[in-house]
């Protein structure tokens, strides 16, 4: 069931928010021992809020489609009075005295928070194999990672624990778990959704967005959480448009860019086959396919890495004297950041501006780009390298290869499921749009995936 279907059922009095919430909590109780998707559940406050939502809807007070819908929040978003660990022992005891902007907006939209989802330590990694809180497992194959860093959110949504969970995305952390878990994941344009109240990993690259089981649900959530926030210096004052696409939109006249370089290099053959199949489908839906050469994405990725390494190390500098409080992989990245000179950081920020100008030219010819989200499907827990098209590649670098550069450019990107490999693991398609044109990529995503995402047998 999707958010929109549940919202209709609530208003038709076929189901209550209390029943939806109890079902979600029961699903968490049943599955969390094996998936480890949730760090905290908020059973009592969820029941109280659900009861309120039922009463409000009964007396005609309607806050919109999220009213009474059970959701989860990644444990990097501050929640007033509820532990917010960031997946790290550094913050294990932290109880914020305020909500993140996204949490405020979801509460104002009437959503029912049932808990906080687990993540890669400090949101700094792609596996969600957390040394402090245990590995999060992929609902499609529990020996595999769910992706990260928003791995608990991906697993929770895919497993049907909640209708929606929030994610943060600095180098693919919404889109990667969406791809590996077979859900929809939306990274909005930089500045579209406030970052206030989220532990920063990287001031320049952090984006907040939803993971859902349908494209229309992602549009609903974006509408609720987007908008100007004076507490976030990068927040945009642009008006928030309507995002909800028609159930079966036409792609007539939409110019879909198909990269000739980089994005289809070194892919698992099953990933390439599935994504190319979707590309052909856009044409059958009326889109015009435009082959395009994109700027040097490998270089863009390196610039993004320099900025991320430096900024994340700066954020964590006060804690780095306690090396035992960090996992090996995160500590390694923080150490790399400490070794970079300030001149490299400044030059990376200058290159960012230069690359943004280069990339703008691509979007003069096309309305969106279609690419794979990840060159591989979900790796096994503990796997550090993968053989892709005959070459061995570090899992972290491989999995971020097709998504990281989009964070540097600040462009909106949507990941939708586009099939499964022979092992039954989901494959993701990435749709990248112009800045602030989320409505277009949601329309393309909805045309390609008009139904709810498939669910694993659990």
């Amino acid at each position: 069931m999707t958010i929109l279907e549940a919202a209709a059922a609530l208003r038709a009095r076929q189901i209550s928010s209390v029943e939806l919430t109890e079902a979600a909590l029961e699903r968490v109780r049943k599955l969390n021992d094996c998936l480890n998707a949730f760090l905290t559940t908020t059973d009592e406050s969820a029941r109280t809020r659900a009861q309120q939502a039922d009463e409000e809807l009964a007396r005609g007070m309607d806050l919109g489609p999220l009213h009474g819908i059970p959701i989860a929040i990644k444990d990097v978003f501050c929640t007033k009075g509820i532990a917010t660990t960031c997946g790290s022992p550094l913050f294990a005891e932290r109880i914020p005295d305020h909500d993140a902007a996204v949490v405020e907006k979801l509460a104002a939209a009437g959503a029912v928070l049932i808990g906080k989802t687990g993540l890669h330590e400090l949101a700094y990694g792609v596996t969600s194999n957390n040394p402090h809180y245990g590995p999060i497992r992929n609902p499609w194959n529990q020996d595999c990672v769910p992706g990260g860093s928003s791995g608990g959110s991906g697993a929770a949504v895919a497993a049907g624990m909640v209708f929606m969970a929030t994610g943060s995305d600095t180098g693919g952390s919404i889109r990667i778990p969406a791809s590996f878990c077979g859900t929809v994941g939306l990274k909005p344009t930089f500045g579209r959704v406030s970052r206030y109240g989220v532990l920063p990993l990287d001031f320049s690259l952090d984006h907040m967005g939803p993971l859902t089981r349908s494209v229309r649900d992602a549009a609903i959530v974006l509408k609720a959480i987007a908008g100007y926030d004076s507490r976030d210096d990068t927040s945009s004052r642009r008006p928030v448009p309507e995002y909800l696409p028609e159930p079966e939109p036409s792609l007539s006249g939409v110019r879909v860019g198909v990269p000739e370089n980089f994005y289809f290099d070194r892919l698992d053959p099953e990933v390439e086959q599935a994504v190319r199949g979707m590309v052909r489908q856009t044409e059958s839906l009326g889109a015009v396919l435009v082959p395009v050469r994109v700027p040097d994405i490998a270089a863009i990725n390196v610039v993004a890495r320099v900025i991320l390494l430096a900024e994340a190390a700066a954020v964590m500098e006060p804690h780095l004297s306690r090396r035992d409080r960090f996992g090996t992989d995160v500590l390694s990245l923080l150490d790399q950041g400490r070794l970079l000179p300030a001149t490299d950081y400044i030059n990376a920020q200058r290159l960012r501006r230069s690359m943004q100008k280069q990339f703008r030219a691509v979007f003069e010819r096309v309305d969106c780009l279609l690419t794979p989200t990840s060159p591989i499907t979900a790796p096994h827990i503990g796997q550090t390298s993968a053989v892709i098209a005959g070459a061995t590649e570090d899992v972290r670098l491989a999995v971020t290869r097709l998504v990281r550069g989009i964070n540097l450019l600040g462009l909106p990107a949507l990941s939708i499921p586009c099939g499964r490999d022979r092992a039954g693991l989901p494959i993701g398609l990435q749709i990248v749009g112009r800045a602030f044109e989320e409505a277009l990529i949601l329309k393309v995503g909805q045309a390609l995936m008009p139904m709810e995402a498939a669910s694993p047998q659990l």
Binding site: A298, V302, S332, D335, L339, I346, Q349
Partner: protein, 58 residues
């Protein structure tokens, strides 16, 4: 390539020798690409960082 051990020592960073050995290859490969890009930055390109002289300005 840069001597990451010397940089760590010079900056008084408490990074153990074994950890430095693990991260050096990653830094070396990044450095190779990054250095070639830096040479091509036009002098008038400013960094993409944000600062507003007045609070609330955009």
């Amino acid at each position: 390539m840069k001597d990451w051990r010397q940089i760590a020592l010079g900056n008084k960073l408490d990074i153990p020798e074994a950890d430095l050995g693990r991260i050096a290859p990653a830094l070396d490969s990044m450095e190779e690409v990054f250095r070639s890009l830096v040479g091509g930055i036009p002098p008038d390109i400013e960094p993409a960082v944000i600062f507003h002289a007045a609070e609330g300005a955009e």
